[in-house]
Symmetry: C2
Subunit: 332 residues, 2 copies
């Protein structure tokens, strides 16, 4: 049986382009015992994928040249030689960018949706929500009355972080890249204040004004000069959860900036880089909390859903131009 | 009664000079109830004092212009109107750079020496030893078999850190600024390997060679390009105890360097700035461990003792030129 997949055609130098991807038709093998034939429903598109396109060893395995890109996918079971899944089941897994695919039953998770939209399992109840939850709760540890600043606030993770910080009783300041995003974060997601960094001319003093008691927690999704401005306003004993550095991912040279260690030293700051797998043993706790808040209506979520399997590369590139509100998903 | 004190004459711009200090004779007041008249014995001279010479608020109070410099001082009680101290007692306190001084009984600690040298209470059993102990044990947390790198290894804190890491069963690599220091650290203080950063031409690859399993703990006393070289070699889940940044203290502009967040992020690194006061409640535990190791001969200590009260400013300036081996102390 034939299907279409999207492979990594070349390793990008700097900002990826559509030429770094290639669509191709392949023949699927026959189904073996313990395998299922899946048809993709929704494909997750995430900033961390840029890192996997590079060469060299990292702590997340790199994509291989001429092999399909891989990510979180929600899929329907079309045919099953597994005792665990039957035709019609919905499953979640780390799967290739392919319209249909054969997958081992191992590593697939059956989804019986208890929330409004199936796609939530790629977002608020998936890697995105868990990243926000553990970064904020286990590194940032906001206390009621403290001030939390979130960069990339309108991104998939940022939207969740802000709401979680509000649930903890903190004051929440966001940084985002358009007036529409500013409005959305304040009106729909409960951010106390949001700055548009693209039109602001003095981020350091703006952050200072919006955070009259200083910054206690900085949840950093973007890095670069935005982070410099926040770090200048950190309080003694503040915490930085280092979640993403999307402003630097496409750098071809080592980016330079002010040295931050003297400030972190004199203010006894904690900075912790993390990937979500570090918290794997606590996932059930995280999913339980997030589901509860979602069903109580305390935790809202927004998605940008792009239609069409062929749009996967374009959707991924869109992340680096800030074209998404919240979680970016492609519907086959 | 007259005595001599050394005051801050001007706030240095960049590297301090002798002109930033002034010696003056003053008249001491009469002793009041609860006070003691002290004669200074030994004066501690420490890198953090440079920060206190600056203007502006910080988390350690700044020295005031035309007021005496203050620091850790061991002194003898000459006259007492306190019920806690009698003539002839030895006390430790945060006291002015003055030959004699009147001090409140509050904040003074009576010293009944159980170790070889009284000066140890300014060093290995004082702020220096406690800084090494808590930075390493509560932030670095080295496990047996791990690799610990210490910058400023021949400084007062660095000498202790290396020995404590060896006691924990770690492999210890030092970075120091002369061949004499390299020799001393290896032969006298048990460092496994030490690099002379002043003659080394490629620190990054030298650290890589000396740490074939990568760096698990980095105890940073110096910052700047030395730290850049170490950070490139950090392992997944490694820890940085941010103790000092002496290479940057005299900068008049914000120092620039490679942005470190992308590396800390992908390797899930913890970086924690600290000052010793953060651990105040645990001081008794720290002093107990350190005294035990000192008396068992497992923990050696070296001091540079400069003779003469008038040498205090010169001794302080000497710290920034690397003229000390271990703890710098001035004997009145």
């Amino acid at each position: 049986m034939k299907t279409k997949q999207i492979v990594l055609a070349s390793r990008p130098n700097g900002i990826p382009t559509l030429n770094d991807f290639r669509s191709e038709n392949i023949e699927l093998n026959d189904l073996k015992k313990g395998e299922v034939l899946l048809k993709g429903l929704y494909y997750s598109v995430d900033p961390y994928m840029r890192g996997r396109m590079n060469e060299g060893k990292s702590y997340v395995p790199q994509f291989e040249l001429d092999q399909p890109i891989e990510g979180g996918v929600l899929a329907t079971v079309v045919e099953s030689k597994s005792d665990l899944f039957k035709t019609g089941d919905t499953v979640l897994g780390a799967l290739p960018w392919s319209e249909q695919m054969i997958a081992s039953e191992k590593g697939l998770q059956k989804i019986e949706s208890t929330v409004e939209s199936l796609t939530y399992y790629l977002g608020i109840l998936g890697m995105t929500g868990l990243t926000a939850y553990f970064g904020l709760m286990q590194i940032g540890k906001p206390k009621a009355g403290e001030t939390v600043v979130v960069s990339g606030a309108a991104g998939a993770v940022g939207i969740v972080v802000g709401q979680l910080a509000k649930i903890q009783g903190a004051r929440v300041i966001g940084i985002a890249g358009s007036d529409e995003k500013v409005k959305m974060l304040k009106e729909e997601f409960g951010y106390d204040e949001v700055v548009n960094y693209k039109t602001n001319t003095n981020m350091k003093s703006t952050i200072a004004k919006l955070c009259p008691n200083g910054v206690d927690v900085y949840f950093d999704n973007v890095g670069g000069s935005i982070s410099d401005a926040v770090i200048e306003n950190l309080n003694f004993h503040s915490r930085i959860a280092l979640c993403g550095q999307i402003s630097l991912y496409n750098s071809t040279e080592i980016p330079m900036g002010p040295r931050i260690q003297p400030m972190l030293l004199t203010r006894s700051v904690l900075m912790q880089g993390f990937i979500i797998n570090n918290f794997q043993k606590d996932f059930p706790e995280g999913i339980a909390h997030l589901s509860k808040w979602v069903n109580e209506g305390k935790l809202k979520f927004t998605e940008t859903i792009v239609e069409g399997f062929d749009q996967l590369p374009t959707a991924l590139l869109g992340l680096f131009k800030g074209e998404n509100n919240g979680k970016m998903i492609v519907k086959r």
